[in-house]
Symmetry: C2
Subunit: 266 residues, 2 copies
């Protein structure tokens, strides 16, 4: 089970952990493995089933399975029964027994721009990498189809992973990369962005099961409330790859000074 490649080999090339939230058999992770094999020593630890919408879930109330599987030729692959964040923890503690040089997650089938970052299993794996002190990127393609062409995304992921390895981010920072669904030649370039202020207007689609009991499907419309041209939503609408630097310090530092008067006053 442990990953026992000779240390020498590990030192020659960067070790890249690839994971995702659509599960180990999704086309997006195959594309990401293809891209990363041109850069480094790839190891895959990914969920054995789709985990979309898992946010930063971890599995604490049941045990995890971890099995080596043959999925991508020439690459050690492991599937786990948990969430994307679990996969990163398992990879470091039980597969690699070391920190990889880079964690890449995706390529997600669908946008993780704006508020999606907070619901995204793809991004939770990248965030978990950054918590471990590892350089990390989550990649998403703005197309939900498993039949979507991945050529442009493979080129983008390769370039950005090389760039990040050459020019690493400060501790506690990672990248949320979204790729518009256009041909590579039609991409306008790369934009460093902030997360757009947007939210879902939820609806629940009510149905009745064969036993007469009601159940609900979560659905809803993505509503952008942000006209800024420095946002990820703007970049994607204008055929730029959006790159948002992300942090996991959730402290609203701007609010601390005003709240200080609560201390003697609750």
């Amino acid at each position: 089970m442990p990953y026992n490649e000779p240390e020498k080999k590990l030192l020659d090339k960067p070790v890249i952990l690839v994971t995702n939230d659509d599960g180990i058999t999704a086309p997006g992770i195959a594309a990401l493995v293809k891209a990363m094999k041109t850069i480094g020593e790839v190891v895959v630890v990914a969920p054995d089933s789709p985990q979309s919408g898992m946010g930063h879930a971890i599995t604490v109330s049941e045990p995890l399975r971890l099995d080596e599987v043959k999925v991508f030729s020439g690459v050690r692959c492991f599937q786990a029964s948990g969430t994307p964040a679990d996969c990163v923890k398992l990879a470091v503690a039980r597969v690699l027994h070391r920190k990889p040089d880079l964690v890449v997650s995706g390529i997600n089938h669908g946008s993780n721009a704006s508020i999606n970052v907070i619901y995204s299993g793809t991004m939770s794996a990248a965030v978990e990498g950054a918590i471990e002190g590892i350089q990390a990127i989550g990649f998403s393609l703005v197309n939900y189809s498993h039949q979507a062409a991945m050529d442009a995304s493979i080129k983008v992921a390769t370039k950005l992973a090389r760039k990040l390895l050459a020019d690493p981010l400060p501790q506690g920072t990672l990248l949320n990369v979204n790729i518009p669904y256009v041909e590579y030649g039609k991409l306008k370039g790369y934009r460093i962005c902030r997360q757009a202020v947007a939210k879902y207007e939820e609806k629940f689609d009510e149905r009745t099961d064969p036993n007469g009991r009601k159940y609900y499907w979560l659905t809803g419309d993505f509503i952008n409330h942000d006209n800024g041209d420095d946002t990820d939503v703007w970049a994607l609408a204008n055929d730029y790859v959006s790159i948002v630097p992300v942090q996991f310090d959730l402290t609203a530092h701007y609010a601390i000074a005003n709240l200080k008067n609560w201390e003697g006053n609750v």
Copy 2:
């Protein structure tokens, strides 16, 4: 199923949505309901089973159940099959058919200080409230036992909910409140804090099932790397209630300027 209290009554008192991640039968939510009944019109929409560690998970690949149940006397209570974030979405869209004035989540059995905020189902419900534009607080007691005394926490939750309703936070901001496990008279007061820089050193406890297959329990040690006296970990260690203002804009704004040179240079 819809919540059809007369509008007049709703206008007299604040409408308070209570939820949690330990499930609707946990002692912590009973304590929070008791506290909130002294302030407003309480409605409970909470998970039908424990959801600890769910982070900001939402349920997108299976339908949800939502059933009215009798759990707390004099309070409309609904249990849902989903995550804490699902419960808030369901409450707004299918139970209240309006936004409550306050979302409170907890009282969690165990700390959600520091990096725990990112794994916490309790906090994900409060974050979802804030995404909806509602004032929101997550409460956690630094004791994992379901037998822990809740008196001090009930007093703290009551005071802080009243304070927040009187003195609301800016849009996009909510509170992560952790309460040390000491008698009310021994609490030193309230501290406005930042999230301490800390992480888990994960371990996976390996076991073998009756069929000879391995499985793993996630475990690990919480390691605080932060000596600041302005952190939640410091406050709790010194018997203060810690109050961290939290945001869901994950953009690492500090990193944008340096990254701008990537734009023409990937």
